[in-house]
């Protein structure tokens, strides 16, 4: 079945790629011909304006071969028209009289030969790499020569070169969204119904005929549901008739005597994955324009500078999100993941809907806080759900999937949001986000399975939960020596220092945005592959966390040796790869090493506390880096951060290694 799914993914990806290449090629061809005509028209006008000046001089009686300072005049025209590569004035037989500097023109000899053979039948012709446009130069109605203007023929190529990163961004985002859709369709057609049927048959094996399978909408394996349900419905009808007749019911068999029609739903993590992706995508639609949206509510009467006011809703969102997480963790353990996710997504929906109609900064803060609470609930619930329902041997893959979904949703949402807001405006884009978030809530409510017996904690969050976890040696080692340093690197290096550093190097915000995007892409592309290896390593999973830490230290040291854009890109991609290696394994490592304590406090609670504590790194990262940059400049700050990550990783390694040795000694004894 996996082989079939893989083939389907390859087929769909191939089709998508083929379609994208074909449409791009055709569009390129259309633009090439249309823009070339326009450019030739512009060149003709430039040529005519130059020819008029030359003809004026000739009309005053200046001989054609004795025009003064003509070269400098042509250079000035060339500077005023950046698309022009050369301007040449020749005699009728093609001898060159005046020209701009031809040293940067490729194949000057070939050009001279072509101009000598110019027959004047057409105004424009292609000469080597150039479109040559010729304008006649006349005196008293008699043609004396030609004025040739040259422009590179690859107009489209030049235009595309300027926006190549934008095109790549759009293609990557389109592929990411398409992959997510393919995934959800494959899950809905194959994996989920198969899992549900297997779970149903397990119940039947235990004599439980009370439940049926969900109605199939996708036409995959779920096609069998109708036939299976018909058999169960017939048996239940017979059982009800037998009960009505007052006959004794068979032992060890249970039937739906009350007509409750319960449905078996499989706990397939693909279902929560897609909803999580959709919600993150919906929330991220506003990322690209949110500061501009907030600036609408700025009033100088606040007595605060605009950048500070713009930052307030973002800070409040982050703060509420962080505070929500441990409470949300305990809560989702208590009420179940399906309900918790749906309520969280519903709150996000309400928050986004109300944000669309914000009228003041106070309004906005309130609605963003509601959104953040919902977002926090969904974030923790998803991670807890994946941790509980993914088998222990696939734990890291589950966490990598969580990270991949988060970054896929975040990257594609931010990119598409920027396009949508131009067409729809702020309010409609927020309303669209709210709609998508509502779909995520409904999808989870409908598709997620019964969690009876899987959730553990049935209590409120207590300080004792924090104490219990933080006193656990391995939880403390992973959290303080790996998770927090990773967040310091993420917030301090990537989110804070890289934009400032690139600005210092003279790059624009859009280029900075694209460079930072490489971090998320590295996690999306590398994460799942590395997670597979980490799961194979089982008891040595911690080595991946170690490797990730050292790789992060190395990546952040790269700008010390390559102090340019190349160095920054390598550092950002390197940090993405490092976090893809190390971060996915952190939660799995905690579950491996602190299983009993995690079960005691509850999976969701543990995830929530872990996520809250690691936020220490997110908060301190920018502050620490800011101080270090002020004290010792970018290079000093990068060196200190790389050394800090190296030191914490080494300590992490030594402590876990020692702990494993102690455990091994006890086992031998």
């Amino acid at each position: 079945m996996k082989d079939l799914q893989r083939r389907l993914v390859v087929l769909v990806s191939g089709m998508l790629l083929l379609a994208a290449v074909f449409v791009s090629y055709r569009a390129g061809g259309r633009f090439e011909s249309s823009l070339t005509q326009q450019r030739v028209g512009v060149e003709l006008e430039i040529g005519r304006s130059v020819a008029v000046v030359v003809e004026r001089a000739l009309a005053f009686g200046v001989p054609f071969d004795q025009l003064v300072d003509t070269g400098r005049f042509l250079e000035a025209v060339k500077i005023d028209n950046p698309g022009v590569d050369y301007i040449i004035i020749t005699t009728l037989d093609g001898r060159l009289h005046y020209s701009t500097d031809l040293s940067r023109v490729s194949d000057v000899a070939g050009l001279r030969r072509a101009l000598a053979a110019w027959n004047g039948l057409g105004h424009t012709a292609r000469i080597g790499r150039y479109f040559n446009t010729a304008t006649p130069i006349n005196r008293k109605g008699r043609q004396l020569g030609w004025l040739h203007l040259g422009e590179r023929a690859n107009i489209i190529e030049q235009l595309l070169r300027d926006i190549v990163f934008d095109i790549v961004t759009v293609l990557v985002v389109a592929m990411l969204v398409a992959f997510e859709l393919v995934r959800v369709l494959l899950a809905a057609s194959f994996a989920t119904p198969l899992r549900a049927i297997n779970e149903f048959f397990t119940r039947i094996a235990g004599g439980d005929f009370r439940r049926t399978l969900a109605r199939d909408l996708f036409g995959g394996i779920g096609r069998l549901n109708g036939r299976i349900n018909a058999i169960v419905a017939e048996l239940n009808a017979r059982a009800r008739r037998r009960q009505a007749a007052g006959a004794e019911m068979p032992v060890r068999l249970s039937f739906d005597l009350a007509g409750e029609r319960g449905t078996v739903r499989a706990n397939a993590i693909e279902n929560i994955r897609w909803s999580f992706f959709l919600l993150i995508f919906a929330e991220s639609l506003s990322l690209s324009f949110f500061p501009i949206f907030v600036a609408q509510f700025y009033d100088p009467a606040f007595g605060l500078p605009l950048p500070v006011v713009v930052g307030i809703p973002i800070t409040v969102f982050m703060l509420v999100w962080a505070i929500t997480m441990p409470f949300a963790g305990t809560w989702c353990d208590r009420i179940g993941y399906r309900l918790a996710f749906s309520i969280g997504a519903a709150m996000t929906t309400i928050g986004l809907f109300l944000t669309a109609y914000s009228t003041s900064l106070a309004d906005l803060l309130l609605w963003r806080s509601i959104t953040a609470v919902g977002y926090g609930i969904v974030y923790v619930t998803t991670q807890a759900y994946i941790t509980v329902f993914v088998s222990a041997k696939e734990g890291t893959r589950g966490q990598a999937m969580f990270l991949t979904s988060f970054f896929t949703g975040s990257l594609s949402g931010a990119a598409i949001g920027g396009i949508l807001v131009d067409r729809l405006g702020f309010a409609m884009t927020f309303l669209l986000s709210a709609g998508l978030s509502a779909i995520a809530a409904l999808y989870v409510l409908r598709s997620l399975g019964d969690e009876t017996g899987r959730t553990v904690a049935k209590k409120a969050l207590a300080l004792a939960d924090f104490k219990l976890l933080l006193r656990h040696r391995h939880f403390a080692i992973v959290t303080f020596l790996s998770a927090i340093p990773a967040k310091v690197a993420l917030a301090g290096f990537l989110y804070y220092s890289v934009p400032l550093y690139l600005k210092d190097l003279g790059y624009s915000q859009s280029i900075t945005g694209r460079v930072m995007m490489a971090y998320g892409l590295a996690i999306i592309l590398i994460g799942p592959m590395v997670a597979r290896w980490a799961d194979q390593a089982r008891t040595r999973r911690w080595r991946f966390v170690m490797l990730g830490g050292y790789a992060a230290a190395l990546a952040m040291a790269v700008p010390l040796f390559l102090a340019d854009m190349k160095g920054a890109v390598i550092a950002v991609v390197g940090l993405g790869v490092a976090h893809a290696i190390g971060v996915s394994s952190q939660m799995t490592l905690i579950n491996d090493r602190c299983g009993e304590t995690v079960r005691e406090v509850g999976q969701g609670t543990a995830v929530g506390i872990f996520r809250l504590v690691e936020r220490i790194g997110t908060i301190t990262g920018p502050v620490l880096l800011g101080a270090m940059i002020a004290l010792s400049g970018f290079m000093g700050a990068f060196a200190v951060l790389a050394l800090f990550t190296f030191a914490t990783t080494t300590l992490f390694t030594l402590l876990l290694w020692q702990s494993d040795r102690e455990t091994a000694s006890i086992e031998i004894a």
Partner: protein, 111 residues
């Protein structure tokens, strides 16, 4: 010293017509590509899933006689997997067992 300006005017309608024309051309290209790719995708998916389709038909056929007295079939479902190939006949057997224990005479043929 600036003493004046040359003001150029363009007919906006002409530019709009050119833009709309290019938009339409690109749309036609896009629609053509989507139609061709959709046809190819459907064909490709049919080709890849024809084995699964036949197995699902086989399983549906077996389940259709789930409560009849026809012999329990021995299914071979390499694409769906051995687990489900074993589980369907087991389900049929258990269902017939349950039907028998509920009484009501001969098992009713399924629709």
């Amino acid at each position: 010293m600036i003493v004046g300006a040359v003001v150029l005017g363009f007919d906006k309608a002409a530019i709009d017509r050119a833009t709309a024309g290019m938009g339409f051309t690109l749309l036609v290209d896009w629609v053509g590509t989507v139609l061709i790719m959709t046809a190819l995708a459907v064909l490709g998916i049919w080709w890849l899933t024809r084995g699964l389709e036949s197995e699902l038909t086989q399983a549906e056929e077996a389940l259709a006689h789930g409560l009849s007295d026809a012999p329990v079939p021995d299914l071979r479902l390499p694409v769906l997997g051995e687990e489900i190939a074993r589980a369907i006949p087991e389900f049929i057997t258990r269902s017939r067992g349950a039907a028998a224990s509920l009484g009501g005479g001969t098992p009713k043929p399924a629709p």
